[in-house]
Subunit: 140 residues, 4 copies
Amino acid sequence: MVEENALLAELKERLHDSDFYRWAGIDLVEASPGRVKVAFEAGPRHVNLQGLVHGGMLATLADTAMGLAVRTVLEPGRRHVTVQLGVEFLSPGKAGRIVAEGRTLKIGRQLGFAEADVKDAGGRLLARAHATLSVTTPRS
Amino acid sequence: MVEENALLAELKERLHDSDFYRWAGIDLVEASPGRVKVAFEAGPRHVNLQGLVHGGMLATLADTAMGLAVRTVLEPGRRHVTVQLGVEFLSPGKAGRIVAEGRTLKIGRQLGFAEADVKDAGGRLLARAHATLSVTTPRS
Amino acid sequence: MVEENALLAELKERLHDSDFYRWAGIDLVEASPGRVKVAFEAGPRHVNLQGLVHGGMLATLADTAMGLAVRTVLEPGRRHVTVQLGVEFLSPGKAGRIVAEGRTLKIGRQLGFAEADVKDAGGRLLARAHATLSVTTPRS
Amino acid sequence: MVEENALLAELKERLHDSDFYRWAGIDLVEASPGRVKVAFEAGPRHVNLQGLVHGGMLATLADTAMGLAVRTVLEPGRRHVTVQLGVEFLSPGKAGRIVAEGRTLKIGRQLGFAEADVKDAGGRLLARAHATLSVTTPRS
């Protein structure tokens, strides 16, 4: 419990210190080792020309959830960088709260693998994503 | 020439009418049938926690370039929706101008396929992307 | 129960009638609506130049499991064709029995989505796969 | 010229020494640094239940072409293993000769990226593929 709260607090601080997440409106919802939920409120500025939430926003949310999920299980000093991202868009998203849950599948010495579900407020699955990440220790 | 200028003007209008593209700072650069270039200026708000341009932004730029490239070869009344997006991140991106060129590979009755290169101002390849799109005529 | 046995029998017959599955050595293990397990015995002819099971074999097994899982929930007369396949190779596979479980994620009017796990005899996850399929009714 | 012939001869030997490639019927066609063509003759045993060449075979051919293309530019002692494979199936393949051309996009210290086109004898594009490969030097 204490550990999960500390983890949550650390990730929240990372997000709050980031211009990108503030700008994109992405917030941390939950975090436990290997599993992280992030959310954003899709408004008029997030929809594409057809009035649906832009796929790039859903991809960004999923990538964030997976990157942070990997972050929770890496030792300090190791970095994580997405090298391959795949997203299947199952249902069109509309304005409102959208949540992505990222989960680690495997963390090796050099590569990590994660997946994510992206759902709307009603729990409908909007997108499925999967990422391959470099999780190396930078050479000093 | 005339046709390409008209195409460019039409796509520019679509982008300018869109809150999403204004918010994301994505501009149209070039357009010819089956090929579209879009660009954005990566600033402090587009970088992730490691100081690199967030992969989601590159994915968004690539998805936009591919969707618009498909748009240029569809008859009026047909819509395009990305159903699968894949991105390989070859090199980390830094602040500055980033350009994505989308190209159609095949447009069928129901499905279209496209690819995109994402490059920085120096011409370095940051990401490669590919998309499968639904290009159906909505039922009335 | 009766229905699942009938489903299993029908899919087994499809596989046995197929030169491809006989040649590849792929057998049906289990089938229920939206979920199918197939297996093959990886021998010397399935390993690549490094002595590991060739990724193409794992991709083939996963694609088969997903295609058949989609098959179980389609009305007669609708066809299924994979249009996009993605595979993450998490661990190297060695000779021995390998099982892929395919699961449907969503079946729409024109597109279906599925995922698969590929595991070795010890239950180790070798690969994760996901597919986008065309599931249309052919025009007469 | 001499170098390319030597490269071709070395790769041919690798393929001929491999049970997998003999079994799958995959032959080397051309090789130059960063670019390799392989082919196979699709016969009755390579088609799926709908009479089309099984997607897994096209994926296998593409993965082989990309792996060998990466091989041509790696120093001896470095190994290559596909960690992520993506394939878009643009047109159904029928029996006959099928060729895949693999090309390297980038080779880094730990990761390599490649793409491939798969075409039939008439030059029609059947599939597009892309791979992320681990290209590390094994620790002794």
